[in-house]
Symmetry: C2
Subunit: 567 residues, 2 copies
């Protein structure tokens, strides 16, 4: 099955879902109640009742007004591999009190050949209440998809949205590095079925413009460019320059060899110390650190990037780094830059930049001022925003915990609601209006204005005529009578496309390569009206229903509400 | 390999780590910098330098003063399976600029036969700064363990702690149900190597006294007792009682059959409606709901548990539930209870209980008032606490999102610090005192007082004599000179035990069955002094160092600090 083919290199993917069934994938990753319900449906003879469910969320995460949709590919692969083994069926039987043997036969024959899934394309910017997936099929089977689909979409969409927000606050010109492997709530990525996991974890990051990752397995599997340097432990594992035995370093052009790079580094350090505008900033630098940097440069002369805060950034880390970089420079190499992992990142990055520029000026080293400054240390949207406001010289942000755990909001509340059964529309009422579901098998459209921005999403009944370009259309708030608007769309895009229709290959959309999903995401994010995207008090994007659907919702609502109550 | 054997049934486990290597497990789940450092160590000829690292956390999660340690078994299994394939080594080579072929040969020969791991027993109550694991071995190899170990321990310990806190706030007599499958940031549980995943995800929950789970795969793999009912969709999938075709129900004793259970239900509903103290609460109940409940009871007459808030709890859900329960009662069955998933759970549970008791009294149905009332709907520590303060009649709490995502704090900040290399103690300084590491290869002890409570944890140098029962001992705060205490322990427990010593089986602790880990956890939690455990302003548990270690820390600190600075 395709991994790299379906990865970032943009090649047309094979139809990965036609690959062999993975024995690890099981519909048993499910809430028990999906099976108790399946049994009850089956007992009532209505297991095959044709049902339509919508999967959607009610509120954008992170206090924002947009969400990125991800996780679809996993869902489609789950459908393709849907199968219960005899052993699993035995377990289900034992878990259901009084379970009849004939139900086990029914389970044995289950697959998703009678299921239809319409979905918004992965990587799209999406909004509350609009179905991300519309799943149609025998009610007992569709219910068995609820828990897996919610699981697969919740986190993937959440982390994709988080990554998009990081990109937004960091700005287009900065590098973003994913540093989360040690804090992720998941190890599956490597243990698991790597193809199945592709979208769930890392596409989220990728498609939202992270530039690099630190996770080697992710790099291998999905072609994510890797970045990494060294840790504090590496620095403190050295005692002194005496430890360095092999001191020789070939020059960049391979034409000569410096037999004692250590002495060259020491000479460069003295040069910095004796420079008029640089002296006074530091006296003696830490020798463990200097030894560690020198060793690291000997290992990676063409990719020297040092963590400079093990002892004292300005008094030791920066001068030591500059000494090693200058020595590399004499041999024709160019150091990459530094990483700061503690302290006032705005202040330290500015100081470091000044020091680099002073060296460029004083010691006449071209481009030395352009060293890449990477910042890490529990960064998140707020800290990056605060750094921006304070002013800084950081070129790259390494974000770990806050990216992968979605620390600011660790779950997206997707739900899976019955909207129609046996052609009868169904509504789920609630005292909390935001929890009322929108009934009917629906179509959904995005309407664009003159400037090219999306104006509003609209849901209609399945058989209503689609909105037409240039034609005035009444868009109503689904629940609030007084909220409505006439819209004349300049472009209309139908959002739900068929991604699964039983085993019929021809009739459905191809799963897209990562690169296309990523491009869609970037393009759609750029195409949003800026006031929906700002961090502070963003304007909610409007989600509406057609006049006909509005009337129908309220007709059902009145019919379903308890007698004697006015809703 | 053992799963159930190592599960909750308490059988002595096979030595699961001796099983065949799992091809999915790879040290490539790692930050790139662990490999760049390995290369730099190797280039400097110090890849085999004997190093000691401590894995610990700096702050208890969730605003509390304790943490539950989990994830150890995964780490030990990771060590046992540590192996890089040729393909993976090729990838590492391509990821390291200028990587020499001889380094690849070095990687090819790597295993954990020269690694020693000492750890606190899994399921223990643990505290900041005290090493959970002490890992000793060749520095390049130990660094390759950092990211996987942090990943495996961070989430497992976090979710275990979360579960323990839920038990604490709910009280011992309540049932706790795990409902998180749909919101977990992980699908690996089923896709992954199920044995490797055991501890990571679900032991956390199990060992902290959750009674039931909803996740079927978890139930199958780890023997977690399952609970589940039905969803709102099940209720709204029914229109009317006419849909029910097969209306017959055998009595509980199998001696008779009620040919029309539907009519029996309707009769019972009328009986409730005509009862003097019950009438007036409702007029007409929702017929979809009644049909759904009736159907569900026909499928599970001995395990009838209904979700009663699809329409209106008191006007429809409760009377419908009672009608079906009374009908079941007439056939010798006993309904289990209800689930409330919205609204004021304190109020509704109290009202429901009163209604059940009124039926018990008015209609003379023994034990009807004892129906189990389950509450769900985004529950967390705070909401359970608030319910307790308000007063409620809930018997069981179903907690999903807030349990599995650790929504209140989605990561535990474990770190992995070098404390010694080639017998030289190392310290990591920081302007932030809480970030200063405690140097040296250490032993750690828990000292218990007269009442049996743990009093203090103390770290000593490796070769110091252990604390003795009945002997006065000076316990010092590691960094604060003015904080110290003399302690006379009544019992001393050494915390770190050897769980891995290369391939030498004899010399190390057995991995324990889940049941033992769980029992340890429960016992230790019960044995804590109550003021450490309370939710509001708990007293911090004291963590100390010996006088000798204190002096040594501060000697090193002075030596390492930048010249001219007073720390």
């Amino acid at each position: 099955m395709a991994t790299k083919e379906n990865g970032t290199d943009g090649k047309k993917p094979g139809r990965v879902i036609d690959g062999p069934t993975n024995p690890m994938v099981t519909p048993l990753l499910n809430d028990l109640y999906q099976f108790t319900m399946a049994y009850a449906y089956w007992k009532a003879g209505k297991q095959s009742a044709r049902s339509v469910f919508d999967l959607y969320f009610r509120k954008n995460p992170f206090g924002g007004e947009y969400t990125i949709f991800a996780g679809l590919e996993e869902c489609i692969k789950f459908l393709a591999n849907f199968n219960l083994t005899d052993e699993e069926i035995d377990f289900v039987r034992d878990s259901l009190p009084g379970c009849e043997e004939a139900f086990c036969d029914y389970l044995r024959g289950l697959d998703c050949s009678d299921i239809e899934v319409y979905a918004i394309s992965e990587g799209s910017v999406v909004f509350p209440k609009v179905p991300l997936l519309r799943i149609e099929g025998p009610v007992a089977v569709v219910q068995l998809l609820e828990t897996p689909f919610l699981n697969l979409i919740n986190y993937a969409s959440l982390v994709a949205t988080n990554a998009a927000r990081h990109r937004f606050v960091a700005g287009k010109s900065k590098l973003l590095l994913e540093f989360g492997a040690r804090r992720a709530q998941c190890f599956c990525f490597v243990y698991g079925n790597i193809e199945m996991e592709e979208n769930v974890i890392f596409v989220g990051l990728l498609l939202c413009c992270y530039n690099y990752g630190s996770n080697v397995a992710a790099g291998k599997l999905f072609g994510i460019p890797l970045r990494g340097t060294h840790s504090h432990a590496f620095v403190s594992s050295f005692m002194s320059l005496d430890e360095i035995v092999d001191k020789a370093l070939r020059s960049s052009d391979g034409k000569s060899t410096c037999e004692d790079f250590v002495t060259l580094v020491q000479t460069c350090l003295s040069k910095i110390q004796s420079s008029s505008s640089l002296c006074g900033i530091f006296s003696e630098t830490n020798q463990s650190e200097l030894a560690a940097f020198t060793s690291y440069a000997l290992a990676f002369p063409s990719a020297f990037l040092a963590l400079v805060d093990t002892y004292d950034v300005m008094k030791s880390g920066i001068p030591n780094f500059c000494a090693v970089s200058l020595a590399l420079n004499e041999l024709g190499y160019k150091a990459v830059g530094i990483r700061l992992d503690s302290g006032d990142l705005a202040y330290l990055s500015t100081e470091a930049r000044q020091f680099f520029c002073a060296i460029e000026r004083e010691l006449n080293v071209p481009d030395f001022g352009k060293m890449i400054i990477t910042a890490s240390n529990d960064l998140n949207e707020e800290t990056v925003d605060a750094l921006n406001k304070q002013g800084h010289e950081v070129d790259a942000f390494g974000i770990g915990t806050n990216l992968v755990t979605c620390y600011a909001q660790a779950a997206l509340g997707c739900v899976f609601k019955l909207v129609e059964i046996n052609n009868q529309p169904r509504i789920k009422l609630s005292e909390d209006v935001t929890k009322v579901s929108i009934p009917c098998k629906k179509r959904t459209y995005r309407l664009f204005g003159k400037e090219g921005y999306p104006l509003v999403d609209i849901m209609t009944g399945e058989n209503e005529p689609p909105p037409k370009v240039g034609e005035r259309l009444l868009c109503r708030h689904p629940f609030n009578e007084s909220k409505w608007a006439y819209v004349v769309p300049q472009r209309v895009e139908e959002l739900l496309k068929c991604y699964w229709r039983g085993n019929a290959d021809e009739a459905r959309e191809e799963l897209e390569p990562l690169k296309e999903i990523r491009n869609r995401c970037i393009k759609q994010l750029e195409n949003m009206r800026p006031d929906h995207m700002r961090r502070l008090n963003p304007t909610p994007y409007k989600v509406s229903v057609s006049a006909k659907l509005y009337d129908f919702i309220h007709f059902l609502w009145l019919n379903e509400a308890p007698v004697g109550e006015l809703h």
